[in-house]
């Protein structure tokens, strides 16, 4: 429904005037997006980080499913856990890897904790709302997918993503595009099957299901073992909620294993709305205001002209 409204609204706007279409269209859709709390039956994944052993099977499964190029080090090489990129940061998603598993040594904990990183498939994705060619779609199944055919390559989505997920194939000259996890939408999710990484996991770290059921399951899990799990379902409310959610161990709080806990509960688009709200005001008030200024500023000339005419 939303999409149809946007299109038909824009058509009308284009007829009315180019600038007006741009601006009023922007404001109107932002409002609509504000009421959008996610599709009711969308799917999600609950990741229990306490179970992950960092075996990288999911990385291999993702690589195969998405036909990505083979990495320099094979997937059974655990030395990647000690790798650090620029700024001493652990590995991140790249154009060649849509998911990575990183190791975190947490003080006061005997064993390291592993964290799987991939697109969290936000309920109100920042990448989607920031894209000026509408390349992103949040499907009713919950995946945030991307249309490489319309992407111009402005990379605003990479600026907007609070999780630093979208990567860009900078190496391509003719057809550079955004590369990110699409929750195996084309090959699996569309047909009701879980993503390849979920299915491949030997530890059953990830649970695939309806997001609303997973939220319940997460809270039940915490309640049943409060001495084991931290009382926080990461992704339940973060930036308006995400399809992928996480549980962590009570002695390894999220902020110590690389999660941004200051990210806020509002969808990113909410921070942009104050600007979008002024757009129609400027468009409607400015013409009258400035023409008025013009009449005021030139009133003496006008009077003179009238006098000389009479």
């Amino acid at each position: 429904m939303k999409k149809i409204n946007r299109r038909s609204f824009l058509k009308g706007g284009l007829a009315g005037g180019v600038a007006a279409a741009a601006a009023v269209g922007a404001a109107k859709n932002a409002d609509a997006a504000g009421d959008f709390g996610g599709y009711p039956d969308s799917m999600g994944v609950l990741v229990d980080l306490t179970k992950c052993i960092g075996c990288r099977t999911c990385e291999a499964a993702c690589n195969k499913e998405q036909s990505l190029p083979m990495p320099d080090k094979p997937f059974n090489d655990m030395s990647v856990h000690e790798e650090h990129r620029h700024g001493g940061l652990p590995r991140r998603t790249t154009e060649k890897a849509y998911t990575v598993v990183n190791k975190y040594e947490v003080e006061g904990r005997e064993h390291p904790l592993f964290r799987k990183v991939q697109c969290n498939h936000c309920q109100e994705p920042a990448c989607l709302t920031s894209c000026f060619v509408n390349a992103y779609t949040k499907t009713p199944e919950g995946a945030v997918i991307y249309d490489p055919k319309v992407c111009v390559g402005c990379r605003t989505c990479m600026i907007a993503c609070p999780f630093y997920i979208p990567a860009y194939s900078f190496s391509s000259v003719i057809n550079p595009v955004v590369k990110k996890c699409i929750m195996c939408y084309d090959t699996r999710l569309k047909f009701g099957r879980p993503p390849a990484c979920v299915e491949s996991c030997p530890q059953q770290v990830m649970t695939f299901g309806k997001r609303k059921d997973l939220v319940e399951l997460a809270h039940r899990t915490i309640e049943s073992r409060p001495e084991k799990y931290a009382d926080h379902v990461y992704g339940e409310n973060e930036v308006g909620g995400t399809s992928w959610m996480y549980l962590t161990s009570v002695d390894a709080p999220f902020e110590e294993i690389g999660f941004d806990v200051h990210i806020g509960k509002q969808p990113i688009i909410n921070y942009v709305k104050e600007f979008l709200a002024i757009v129609p005001m400027v468009l409607t008030i400015w013409p009258a205001l400035f023409t008025g200024f013009h009449l005021l500023a030139t009133r003496k000339d006008a009077q003179k002209n009238e006098e000389s005419a009479s």
Binding site: R92, C131, I159, Y168, V173, E274, F275, P287, T291
Partner: protein, 418 residues
């Protein structure tokens, strides 16, 4: 050119050749009334052209390399810093410095301040070229530049701030071209286009104000998408657009003072008495406007800190960097402008303008690159990125100079078309 003028050459400034009953041909107009040989001679004699030649010798191959080997070759190809110098400098710095177009249009055409007329066209040209080259920078930065029109006609994402920027910059570019049609008409001897633009100038100017308010603000609003990435002192979701809009006012006016000063120094032969005699008075007039915008900007910047209660952050390392930016980029030019206006000294005003321009560069680079990802790491742009940026900026200066030499911007065209 100086030498030729000293030898008694009169640069083209009318349709008819002086003393003869024939018109200048287009070729003669483009060659500034020189013979091709003489034209080459003055090109070679000008030391600036040698600097440009060196820049091009290094820069053009690198620029071509960006399109042959891809962005990953020309930049770090960073996923964490998707925007580098091309946008940080080319879009976020060039656009505010080009706000002079709508400022001067408003002052002269809307507010009826005809006393600023001698510099109006320079303001408009500064605007047009700044925007044009911002688009050039964008074309170098986009992954698929041939899809530039996609947001207009192929796939529309009207809820995005960048959608607004794209449409507004495109429309505003056409408005600015239209506003400069009179200058081109005079030179080419056309009558109808000039008359037509004159009849719609009020509409054009109002459109210019609307579009400028919104896209200058929108450039700031682009960063509201990244609440956790831009340092909180440079981020404020309520005021971000106003910070960018308000600072573009003094940025545009100060850039105009800087450009007019450079024209006065290096293109003296091209400036007529109407321009040179009025310039000091106009510079002080622009200074008044700029200082008003500066004080407004200062207050709204402090309001933003108070609004988010970020006073504590001022005592951190980033806070000191912020205080430096405010002191150097806002307080110092504000003080200098005030001194200039009190003492009626255009010289001090010109210095103040230079500082204000540097201050705005610092602010935009701080927001887009330096404080961006403040919790991650700093990234120094790749050398090829720097070279390409310098090359495109050099082209901007060259085109600017070529326009100033030929179009009636710094001088008044003698005699209209019949």
């Amino acid at each position: 050119m100086k030498t030729f003028v000293a030898q008694g050459l009169k640069p083209v400034d009318s349709l008819m050749k002086p003393g003869a009953n024939s018109e200048w041909t287009l070729k003669e107009k483009l060659l500034l009334g020189l013979s091709p040989g003489d034209y080459m001679k003055q090109l070679v004699r000008n030391p600036f052209n040698w600097i440009f030649a060196i820049i091009y010798a290094i820069g053009v191959p690198v620029l071509l390399g960006r399109f042959y080997y891809g962005l990953g070759w020309a930049t770090h190809g960073s996923y964490d810093y998707p925007w580098g110098l091309f946008l940080g400098w080319g879009l976020f710095c060039m656009v505010p410095l080009s706000a002079s177009g709508f400022m001067l249009g408003t002052t002269v055409e809307l507010f009826g301040r005809k006393d600023f007329k001698p510099i109006e066209r320079l303001g408009l040209l500064n605007g047009l070229l700044g925007y044009l080259f911002a688009v050039m920078f964008l074309q170098v930065d986009l992954g698929q530049p041939w899809r530039l029109i996609y947001p207009m006609f192929v796939s529309l994402g009207p809820a995005a701030v960048l959608f607004l920027v794209a449409w507004h910059v495109a429309t505003y570019l056409s408005v600015q071209v239209a506003e400069l049609v009179p200058a081109a008409s005079e030179m080419m001897g056309w009558k109808a286009p000039k008359k037509f633009v004159k009849s719609i100038v009020l509409g054009l100017t109002v459109a210019g104000v609307i579009l400028s308010t919104l896209h200058q603000g929108a450039l700031g609003a682009l960063f509201t998408y990244a609440p956790g990435k831009v340092h909180p002192l440079w981020y404020n979701y309520s005021f971000q657009w106003f910070h960018f809009f308000c600072s573009s006012i003094f940025a545009g006016l100060s850039m105009l003072i800087v450009v007019s000063t450079l024209s006065k120094w290096f293109l003296k032969w091209r400036c007529d008495a109407n321009f040179t005699k009025n310039l000091d008075r106009i510079t002080l007039g622009l200074s008044k406007g700029a200082s008003l915008a500066l004080i407004t900007y200062l207050i709204i910047k402090l309001t933003a800190i108070a609004h988010d209660n970020e006073w504590g952050l001022l005592f951190t390392g980033w806070g000191q960097w912020y205080i430096f930016e405010i002191c150097f980029g806002v307080l110092l030019p504000l003080f200098l402008y005030t001194v200039a206006i009190r003492n009626q000294s255009a010289r001090i005003a010109r210095f103040a303008a230079l500082i204000a321009v540097l201050g705005i560069l610092l602010n935009r680079l701080n927001t887009a690159l330096i404080t961006f990802n403040w919790q991650l790491y700093q990234e120094i742009p790749h050398w090829r990125e720097v070279v390409i940026t310098i090359t495109i900026y050099a082209t901007y200066i060259l085109v600017y100079r070529a326009c100033l030499c030929r179009l009636p911007i710094l001088f008044t065209w003698k005699g209209d078309a019949k």
